[in-house]
Structure formats: structure tokens, C-alpha cells
């Protein structure tokens, strides 16, 4: 474990990605305890839009709310949505993929073609459908993104499991009379953990973008609770007047996704040195 950490920290993209990610998580966690101002407090005394200043670090929006506080709380929201959506994807997708790989034949075909159908719907479209049925809200955004994640993980784990099933040590486990469910839990899943971890960080980054996208069109988190995506869409009408309203949440999204992608890239290189494109 120790050697893993020291190897990991020597990897530049892992290191930078880790720092950015930890920073965003820290900001999100801090927002539970402290924000410079209440997220709904309108700073009437200063009247509406403020440029960034010492009092309001990132300025205020058209309603006089402190932007920095809202970005902090928005981070919490984005992370929560992405984490739960990835968990749904892994929790349902991996068992489905492993099941398909273990059983093969008709079941495999059925599951994977079902997967293709889900894959054919973009997250935005399924979110529209879910919103039409249940109404808009953060929970429904989570479900929509989660459903989008299921086939991603199902496919990945099926492919990995298929190649693992032909290995000798799986044969030995079968010769030991173990059931396919047991072999999957004991041998298959631990051996594809690397792949899953890397895919999870990437799905996490995607989840943040998708959440922002859904919120942008008004299908995600509802006002007045802040969300990066909706902050962007609200800033749209005031682009010329106050560009910082769009730049701040936009940058927050870009930096978070960049951090996660770097982390995922670095993790892949560290966990599976054979895939590494450069030598350390």
C-alpha cells in the first residue's frame, strides 16, 4: 500500500488531479459549516449586481446574492448528484454485466441488447421523460444520469469478465466446484476493480457536466437552491452587463471536470502500468 501511494504521488497528472479534487470536495464540505454570506441573503444595501471585490469575493448576482457562497453550495450539489449517479451505475451495471458474462447465451444477448436501447437515449432525453412523469428536481436528475451510467458499467464489466472467465485461475476455481456467483464475487470483480475505479472517476466527471446540463435547461435542481448549471443559464441574459456571473460557475465546472479527468488518467497509469503511455 505504501509503495502504491509513493508511486501514485510521483505521477504528475494523478497528483494535480488529486489536489484539485480534494480542493473542490473541501469547498463543498466547508459549505455545510460556513459560507461568507447566506446563499439567499440579498445584499440590498449594495443594490443588486456587484463586481468582485474584497467584500464580495466573486461579486453578487442580479438579486444581490453573494456569488462565492452560491458556488460553494453548488459544488456540494454537483458532487452529491454525480456520486449517487455513479453509485447507481456501478450498483446495477456491474452485476448485470457480470451476470451476462457468467451465463452467456440468450441472457447475455438479452441484457446487452437492452443495454443498447438505454444507451441510445441521451441522459438529457431520459431526464425530460422522467421530468414529464415525476416533475423536475435534483432526485430525478440523479435517476436520469444514473440510468445513463448503467450501460456504461455493464458493458465495461461484461467485457472484462468475459476475458477473465477464460483464465486458468478461474478454471481452477471451477474445478474446485465453486458456483459462478461465488467465482464472480471472489475472483472476477476484484480483478476488474482497476478498470471500474478508473471508469468511475471518468463517469463522475461526466455526471457533473450532465447535472450542469440538466440544471441549465431547468430539469435539475430547482430554485432557490444553487446549482452551477442553473447559475449559468441565469447569467445568460446578463452576459454583456456582468460576464463574471457566467464565468464563475463555468470555471467551477471546467476546473472540477479537469481535476477529475486528470485523476482518472493518473489512476489508470498507476493502477495498470502496462497502459501507461510514458515511463515514469
Amino acid at each position: 500500500m505504501h509503495s502504491f501511494l509513493s508511486r501514485a504521488l510521483r505521477n504528475r497528472s494523478f497528483f494535480i488531479g488529486l489536489i484539485i479534487t480534494l480542493f473542490i470536495v473541501f469547498i463543498a464540505a466547508l459549505s455545510f459549516l460556513w459560507t461568507p454570506y447566506g446563499i439567499d441573503d440579498q445584499q440590498i444595501t449594495t443594490v443588486g449586481l456587484q463586481k468582485p471585490s474584497l467584500t464580495y469575493w466573486l461579486g453578487t448576482d442580479n438579486l444581490g446574492r453573494d456569488l462565492f457562497s452560491r458556488v460553494m453550495v453548488g459544488a456540494r450539489n454537483s458532487i452529491a448528484v454525480a456520486v449517487v449517479a455513479v453509485a447507481i451505475g456501478i450498483g446495477i451495471g456491474v452485476p448485470l454485466g457480470c451476470w451476462a458474462a457468467a451465463r452467456r447465451g440468450f441472457l447475455d444477448e438479452l441484457l446487452m441488447r437492452g443495454n443498447d436501447v438505454i444507451f441510445a437515449f441521451p441522459a438529457l432525453l431520459s431526464a425530460v421523460i422522467i421530468t414529464a412523469i415525476f416533475g423536475p428536481g435534483a432526485i430525478n436528475a440523479i435517476i436520469a444520469i444514473g440510468i445513463f451510467n448503467i450501460p456504461v458499467f455493464a458493458r465495461l464489466s461484461r467485457g472484462a469478465a468475459l476475458s477473465l472467465w477464460t483464465r486458468d485461475f478461474i478454471m481452477a476455481a471451477r474445478a474446485a466446484g465453486k458456483s459462478s456467483a461465488r467465482i464472480t464475487i471472489e475472483h472476477i470483480i476484484p480483478n476488474m476493480a482497476n478498470l471500474l475505479i478508473v471508469q468511475a472517476t471518468i463517469a463522475f466527471a461526466l455526471g457533473i457536466i450532465q447535472e450542469a446540463g440538466l440544471a441549465y435547461v431547468g430539469l435539475g435542481t430547482q430554485p432557490p437552491f444553487p446549482s452551477w448549471g442553473r447559475m449559468l443559464s441565469e447569467a445568460q441574459t446578463m452576459m454583456a452587463l456582468a460576464p463574471h456571473l457566467a464565468i464563475v460557475p463555468g470555471l467551477a465546472i471546467v476546473i472540477t471536470v479537469l481535476g477529475l479527468n486528470l485523476l482518472g488518467d493518473g489512476l489508470r497509469d498507476v493502477l495498470d502500468p502496462r497502459l501507461s503511455r510514458k515511463r515514469d
Binding site: 483464465r167 486458468d168 485461475f169 478454471m171 481452477a172 476455481a173 471451477r174 474445478a175 474446485a176 466446484g177 465453486k178 471472489e186 475472483h187 476484484p190 480483478n191 515511463r279
Partner: protein, 550 residues
């Protein structure tokens, strides 16, 4: 023509090669022999200047008077593939799977000779003819996956010889192939050397192959040249202790104290057979001919029947693809036969209930060929060995660990191995762990699928000794699956020869070796390299050469 002088190589700070010197004349074959880790492959890679990053070299490598160490990459690119070429061990991975064989061969020709596509493909056709793949049967438009291992190795040779190189390096060119293919490929290499007058460096761990092929031999160990001279003299004289040790190990036959159990023996026949195989066949579906027409199934195993009695040691031999591994999988109940029955201790596996199946499985365990692939890399040894104990229901932790320690002890390993991961062991140690895993349920039958093919000769001898010793101590019955008759000869009493899914010959090991009847058995016996025979031939031709030189 080619000369390495005091070559030293280190990667990072680890010294790999120490003062290696060797030389090669045109039209001659030089063998480099050694076990894994002896530096024989890296010597070859230094000659091609294809060393991994972070390597530092000193000494000199001269090729046609040109110094290669520290030569410009441009010069090397000119030489590689044109004047010097290389063939690798694994023909599966050395060809690009998305290009046709025709494209891959002609690519090099076009690159080095600057000729047109048509002319190049004409040359390609000639080359394929030369390596024994007539283009009317094997058109240029074939992809590597449409060829067998031996055919792919022929394509590799065609690519390497396209420019009539002065120097050809073959790194274990036949290790991944079965013996009959090995004999064909070696024959092809030899005739190419004679025809084109090139120098060939043959790297191998198999002394018999080297003895048959080479004029001169270099024995390496731990990056040093230990022994060097003409093949016949070195292998006949065996002056160097390490060479002697290698030669001994490669023709090692374990000593046994108990008489063999033969089915020809009436007494053995009275016992109940441990394993009964009755008219077993296995069909695999093939691609559909059309939407409404299913393909004709491929019959991998065809109406095989035999009995195996307790204490027997039976060899199942045949070329690759003859169905022997499929049969083994069915015996282990990992695959269902399409027809016929397999019974263990009188219980048919095909319609056994789960409880009976568990009992049968406890009675037979398996050892695989590749000691690197047969363990879950994420588990420690204690858990790996204990895996089959699952078949015995719940055991207390104490009992479990006692059983594991006993099993390790039986294969001659210490309990401190328990807390390690498989990658911390060498190939031979891993194969011991694999045997421990097979022994832990106290099985009566061990099915071994090429158990020593992936091991170095000295390790192979040790593992064979271990298997033989365990048989006598624990009263095991062995079913050995192999294409290597040398191994079968060392450990089996009786042999079944398989060809195209059928058993074509059956007899005691001596009968099959000394007097093979069927075509398949004859081919296997003829193709098996034999150290003694090879040395005798080598000495004869060396004497003749000396005579003609005078």
C-alpha cells in the same frame, strides 16, 4: 561477419550482461542456450539496438565491420529488416492482427527496395512459396487470425528473410509450437541458412534443439558466457559443470521405487476403474452457412473410450488441436460432453446431483500449464491453496490452515510462503504451489495439462521429480496431457495418442517410443528432439567437415 566483444549492459543500476563475447560466420548457426533470466534475449536485442529505455552498454558489437553500439538510429533502421532481421517467440503477438499477411510481408520489401506494389506482391508470393505457404492455398489476403501458430511463424520467417539478411536472430522461435511444427520450422530455418548463406543466431532453452541445429554454442547464465565452442565438442565433453547440469536436467528421468501399474496387467484390471470414459464426443457449433442453414458442427473429441485404474500414470499425447485439452476439461466436469458418459468411481458426471459432483470433484484436481496464469493475482498463497477446500464444506480456520501448511510441506515449500502473493515466486515455485492446491483435497486423480512445458529445464526436472515422489507417497493417479514426448516418457507408464479427436494408438510408453504404429505417433516420435541422437549427428558432421577442410 558478426562479432560481439565484451558487451556489458545494465538497465537502471542493475547489471544484466557482463563481458559477453561471441562471433558468427556467414552460413553458420550459433546457438545461445540458457535459462530464463540468463540474458540471452537481451544479448540479441542489443545487437538489434532494440533495448529498453534506460539501458547503458559498453563493449563493442561489430556487424560487417560496422560498429553498432552507439550507432545512429537512422543507420540502425537501414540495417534492421534489411541486413539483420529477427524472429520472435510468440507468433500470435508478433504479427499485426488488422493487416493481411500479404501487406505485412510486402511492406518491408517496398520500404527497403523502393519498388512498386505489384512487384512487391510478386516477391511476396515467391517468399510464401519458399516458407511452405503456397499462395493458392494461403492467399495474400489472409489475416493472421486465419492461420495457425505454425503458419504464422512461417509468415514471420518470410518477413524476416524478405531482404536475404546477412544475420537472422531467432529468439525461441519454436517454444510456443508443438513438436511436429517445431521440427518443420527448424527444418525451414536450416534450409534458408544453407540457401542464402546467412548467419543465424538461435536462442533456445532446449539443448536438444540447439544440438540438432547449431554449429557453435554459447552457454549463458546470469548475464555471463560460461561455455563456448563447437556444439559437438561442448555437448559431448560436458567439461563445464553448468553445461553438464543443463544436459543432465534436459534428459532427466525421475527414479521410481514402485512398479508401474499397467492395464495389460491382469491384477490391476480387477480393481474398479477410477475413471471410466465411454464413447465420449464433443461437438462445437460453427458459423452458420446461411440464415437458414446451421454450420456443420466441429467434432473436437470423437468417440473416445478408456478406463483409468488407481495408481496408473497415463499420458495423453497429440499435436495441438487434437482434442486432448477438450477431453481433459470434460473429465474435470468443466465442459459437458455432447454424447457419451464419464464416470468417476462409478458415478457418471453427466447426470450427477450436486452432492455427487462435489464428491467427484474432490477426487480429481488439476494442474495447468502456465504457472503465471493459474492464480488469482490478488490473493495470497494461503487463500489460493485453500480454494478447493470449499468442496469439503465448512472447516474451522485452524483445520484449514493446518491442511494448507501440510500441502505446502508436501511440495517442499516452507510456511513463510503463505503470506505472499503469487508474483513474488518464480515459475517453478508457482508450479509447486499449483500442485499443493491440487493436493489439498487429497484427490485420487490429478489431471495435469502440460504441467512443465512453461518451465526451464532444471526446474522441469525438479517438478518431475516432485510429481513422481508424490505419486508414490500419496498413491496418486495421473493423467498427463502433453505434446512433449520427453516429459511423457519421464513420468508415464502408458500412452494414448490422439489425432483429430480420436484415440489412434495405445500402448506402454516403451512400445510407443520404440515402435510407433500409427501415423500420428510416428510423427510425434520423429519430431521429438533427442539430445543423444543430435550430438552423435553433430559429431559426425564436424568430423566430416574437418576431413573436407584438409
Amino acid at each position: 561477419m558478426f562479432e560481439i566483444d565484451k558487451l556489458s549492459l545494465s538497465i537502471g543500476n542493475v547489471p544484466i550482461l557482463k563481458q559477453v563475447s561471441l562471433s558468427l560466420q556467414p552460413g553458420k548457426i550459433l546457438g545461445i542456450v540458457g535459462e530464463s533470466g540468463s540474458g540471452k534475449s537481451l544479448t540479441a536485442l542489443s545487437a538489434m539496438q532494440l533495448l529498453p529505455e534506460g539501458s547503458t552498454t559498453s563493449g563493442s558489437i561489430k556487424f560487417n565491420g560496422q560498429e553498432l553500439l552507439g550507432a545512429e538510429e537512422e543507420l540502425m533502421q537501414d540495417l534492421r529488416g534489411d541486413d539483420m532481421a529477427m524472429i520472435f517467440q510468440e507468433p500470435m503477438t508478433a504479427l499485426n492482427p488488422v493487416h493481411t499477411i500479404g501487406d505485412q510481408i510486402s511492406e518491408g520489401i517496398i520500404l527497403h527496395e523502393q519498388i512498386g506494389r505489384d512487384e512487391a506482391s510478386q516477391r511476396t508470393i515467391e517468399l510464401l512459396h519458399r516458407v511452405g505457404l503456397p499462395p493458392n492455398q494461403y492467399p495474400l489476403s489472409r489475416y493472421p487470425h486465419e492461420l495457425s501458430g505454425g503458419q504464422r511463424q512461417r509468415v514471420m520467417i518470410a518477413m524476416a528473410c524478405a531482404q536475404s539478411p546477412d544475420l537472422l536472430i531467432a529468439d525461441e522461435p519454436t517454444t510456443a509450437l508443438d513438436v511436429t511444427l517445431q521440427a518443420q520450422i527448424l527444418e525451414l530455418l536450416r534450409s534458408l541458412v544453407d540457401e542464402q548463406g546467412m548467419g543465424l543466431i538461435l536462442i533456445s532453452h532446449d539443448l536438444a534443439v540447439v544440438a540438432e541445429m547449431t554449429d557453435e554454442i554459447v552457454v549463458m547464465r546470469n548475464g555471463e558466457v560460461l561455455d563456448h565452442g563447437s556444439t559437438g565438442a561442448i555437448l559431448r565433453g560436458l567439461k563445464h559443470p553448468y553445461t553438464r547440469q543443463l544436459a543432465k536436467a534436459s534428459s532427466h528421468i525421475p527414479t521410481r521405487t514402485l512398479p508401474p501399474v499397467l492395464t495389460t496387467n491382469e491384477k490391476a484390471k480387477k480393481a474398479t476403474p477410477l475413471l471410466q470414459i465411454n464413447n465420449v464426443s464433443k461437438d462445437y457449433p460453427t458459423a452458420r452457412k446461411s440464415l437458414f442453414q446451421p454450420g456443420t458442427p466441429f467434432r473436437a473429441v470423437d468417440q473416445v473410450s478408456f478406463d483409468l485404474y488407481p495408481g496408473q500414470s497415463l499420458g495423453l499425447v497429440g499435436e495441438s488441436g487434437c482434442g486432448k485439452s477438450t477431453l481433459a476439461r470434460m473429465i474435470l466436469a468443466l465442459d459437458r460432453p455432447s454424447s457419451g458418459t464419464i464416470s468417476v468411481n462409478g458415478v457418471a458426471l453427466t447426470n450427477a446431483n450436486p452432492k455427487q459432483l462435489k464428491k467427484a470433484r474432490r477426487n480429481m484436481q488439476v494442474v495447468f500449464q502456465d504457472p503465471f496464469a493459474s492464480f488469482n493475482p490478488r490473493h495470497k498463497v494461503d487463500r489460493l491453496i485453500a480454494e478447493p477446500l470449499y468442496l469439503e464444506g465448512e472447516l474451522s480456520a485452524n483445520e484449514k490452515s493446518q491442511r494448507v501448511i501440510n500441502a505446502l510441506d508436501e511440495v517442499g515449500m516452507k510456511p513463510d510462503a503463505l503470506d505472499k502473493y503469487p508474483h513474488e515466486f518464480s515459475g517453478g515455485q508457482r508450479q509447486r504451489i499449483a500442485i499443493a492446491r491440487a493436493l489439498i483435497t487429497r484427490p485420487a486423480l490429478i489431471v495435469a495439462d502440460e504441467p512443465v512445458s512453461a518451465l526451464d529445464v532444471s526446474i522441469r526436472a525438479q517438478v518431475l521429480d516432485l510429481l513422481c515422489e508424490l505419486r508414490e507417497k500419496l498413491g496418486l493417479t495421473y493423467l498427463f496431457i502433453s505434446h512433449d514426448l520427453g516429459v511423457v516418457r519421464a513420468i508415464c507408464d502408458e500412452v494414448f495418442v490422439m489425432e483429430k479427436g480420436k484415440i489412434v494408438e495405445h500402448g506402454t510408453t516403451e512400445q510407443i517410443f520404440d515402435n510407433p504404429q500409427s501415423r500420428a505417433a510416428k510423427r510425434l516420435v520423429d519430431a521429438t528432439p533427442d539430445l543423444e541422437r543430435a550430438i552423435a549427428n553433430r559429431l559426425r558432421s564436424e568430423k566430416k567437415n574437418m576431413g573436407s577442410n584438409k
